[in-house]
Amino acid sequence: MENNTRRNFIKKLGASVGAAGVVGGASILSSCNRVETVTGDTIQLLTSSGELVEVDRSMLKPADLPSLSENQKRGREGIPGKSWVMVIDLSKCRNARECMKSCQNHHQLRPEQHHMNVLQMQDAEHTAPYYMPKNCQHCDNPPCTKVCPVNATFKREDGIVLIDNERCIGCRFCVAACPYSARVFNWFEPKDAEKYEGVTYNIEANVPQKKGTISKCLFSADRLREEELPTCVSACPNGVYWFGDRNEDAVTNGTTKETVSFSKLVKDNAAYTLMEELGTKPRVFYLPPKDRAFPFQGEIDEHHA
């Protein structure tokens, strides 16, 4: 009896190994096949900047992503030798909101989740209102990373404040600590959760988003690694954003692609940072909203603190 079952088992084992071999071999063969021929069968893809493109099926190959642990390791360290800064020219912003749209696409956000939020501001009763794009300020003295109990949000060498949503416990202490309301939480299952199921987590874009964890602006750290400007910076049609490396003292305009001296830009235009008195030392600099000549649409939302 016992002998019988053992023999049966060996038989089954042999059969399954054989079957696996056939399937494996066939798949290797078919994959070799696929690389060489153009099938003419096209597929539509959405790029991270939100454009729809069409490519041949044969061109598809798995993205060259590092493994999760490798990704998390280099994501924590940052890009060596860099010190990222952003300059937002408030006199240019016309509320086109292309930054918000592209950002939501890139980071797979729901419509009410904003890493980049264009606010309607009015500083005093008789001054003209203006639009103020507001994202994570990537503070050099970040209140949020201080309070995180599990080191799920942290400051990198290159100045970016990043999130590891594989580690976040969802206590939302960082939300309470952030004076800029820069952080958003995944209160529900994130947008298109089923679609991204099983996709390896990319810490530098914080995608796929996860239910019960935090998200916020990351200066598109994944794009910076590929030497591209952040999504919002590239998407802006009005030349609002300058982005660059403080170590090189150079910032590039996302619209005009013009590169200027960061210190000169900041000095000549009397740049300021938000709520400087709190001592958070932001890495996002604002150029004052001079020449507010454009018509201001909509009403000012009276929900100031």
Binding site: K146, C168, D301, H304
Partner: protein, 453 residues
């Protein structure tokens, strides 16, 4: 302390004390079963709510990106606050040799254990990823006040359990020796195991006294830390209303008010339900009333500091927050809490009549309910007023209102705390028999005598 010389008298008195103080253990009538049914029903409903919350996400609550801490955190602060009374009554007053507090200290420890255990559970229920709870230990960052809180909450729970258990050992031996068919076998088994083979000799008593003293001293810094650190969860941020240096002592003072009220209500419940008129005497209520007035006055002092000083200056962001509390959308809650929970109790309890058991129990109820809403007022209004405008988000992001799931889970915490207290009262005497007997002048040698049957 008077000494009773005659052995007969001692034995008779001890029998009476044992009989009275084990009534809570023996009593098992319809009302007991009904009470357990109510408790378990609400706990079940609350747990069901939590399952829904885990499944759908924290979005089932009223919290959103701007008000990201709501009723759960307020409730957490409330439970930490209530639990602090254990440290005041069973340690501080003991060490100061204030004798009237002795019979009350067990009740205070019950409240402490239930409060701090639930506080720990509530904070897990507030997490977006409760499944990653262990990350707190695996990746804990000691710079975060949450880690300090986890450390002191678990330490306080441990010391409170020990401070409940160690003085109970002689009683457990007494129950093991004296109780018979009136309690079920499994209870007897628990007593036998937990009594640790207690014999009642002088050396053992010395160890118990020593251990109690060490624990009472240890719990003072831990007790103070637990609520101070809880206040730092708020004070460590930059938000108006929280960004103040007074928050630590303000929280501690408020905790004593809430805890005293909880203990008074529980004393009253035991007195009525288990016929303990001669144990929780009028004088205990009178003294607890005086204690409540005293801690309320301290709390009033901190409230004046907390609201009058910034209210005088009305700095921009602070001013928005205070206007909202004084005359804005939270004003009715704010003033009711201040008047019903603080000013009226102080005035009433100064009069001797209101320190009688029933009036003070009723006053304590209002104090405790106000204490809960006070925590709500500490957490929610501040979050509704961030520094930058709230824009481009749906209506429900701007103001917070708790959902039914949140209410279910909050009710769960109350009933679970009551369940812990009930189970403790049903298993162990609500006043330590041996300490009480000693107080009445009964020599310790009678305690370890087996009753003649």
């Amino acid at each position: 302390m008077k000494k009773i010389e005659s052995p007969e008298e001692s034995r008779k008195l001890l029998d009476k004390i044992t009989h009275d103080l084990t009534r809570s253990i023996v009593k098992n009538d319809e009302l007991t079963r009904f009470w357990f049914f109510i408790l378990i029903m609400f706990i079940g409903v609350g747990l069901w709510g939590w399952i829904i919350q885990i499944d759908k996400g924290l979005g089932v609550t009223g919290m959103r990106d701007y008000v990201s801490w709501g009723m759960y955190i307020a409730n957490f602060v409330f439970f930490v606050a209530v639990s602090l009374i254990g440290f005041l009554l069973s340690s501080a007053l003991h060490l100061l040799k204030i004798n009237w507090a002795k019979p009350v200290s067990r009740v205070a420890e019950q409240v402490a254990i239930a409060g701090v255990a639930l506080a720990g559970l509530i904070i897990v229920m507030d997490m977006g990823r409760p499944d990653r709870f262990l990350n707190v230990f695996l990746h804990g960052r000691f710079a975060s006040p949450i880690i300090w809180d986890v450390t002191v909450v678990t330490t306080y729970l441990t010391i409170s359990v020990l401070l409940f258990y160690i003085p109970l050992i002689p009683d457990l031996a007494l129950l093991r020796d004296r109780m018979g068919s009136e309690v079920p076998k499994w209870k007897m088994k628990i007593y036998t195991i937990l009594a640790l083979g207690w014999k009642g000799n002088a050396k053992q008593y010395k160890t118990v006294y020593h251990a109690m003293r060490v624990l009472m001293l240890l719990i003072i810094p831990v007790g103070l830390s637990i609520h101070t650190v809880t206040s730092w969860l708020f004070a460590a941020t930059l938000r108006s209303g929280w960004d103040t240096t007074i928050l630590g002592p303000y929280f501690v003072a408020g905790a004593f008010v809430a805890g005293s009220a909880a203990v008074i209500m529980l004393m009253y419940a035991y007195r009525i339900r288990y016929g303990l008129k001669d144990y929780f005497e009028d004088i205990h209520f009178d003294q607890m009333g005086k204690l409540l007035v005293f801690v309320s006055l301290v709390y009033l002092y901190f409230n004046i500091n907390e609201f009058l000083v910034p209210g005088y200056k009305m700095k921009s962001a602070e001013g928005v927050h205070l206007t909202n509390l004084f005359t804005g959308s939270f004003s009715s809650m704010f003033w009711i809490v201040q008047i019903v929970g603080l000013i009226l109790p102080i005035i009433l309890l100064l009069l001797k009549y209101f320190r009688k058991p029933l009036p003070i129990a009723i006053i304590s109820f209002f104090v405790l309910v106000s204490a809960w809403f006070k925590r709500y007022l500490i957490v929610v209004p501040t979050m509704e007023h961030p520094f930058l405008p709230v824009q481009n988000v749906p209506e429900n992001f701007q103001t917070y209102s708790p959902t039914s799931i949140e209410i279910m889970i909050t009710l769960f915490s109350f009933f679970a705390a009551l369940l812990i207290i009930t189970v403790l009262a049903k298993l162990f005497p609500v006043i330590t028999i041996w300490e009480y007997a000693e107080e009445k002048g009964i020599d310790k040698k009678y305690l370890s005598e087996k009753p003649k049957n």
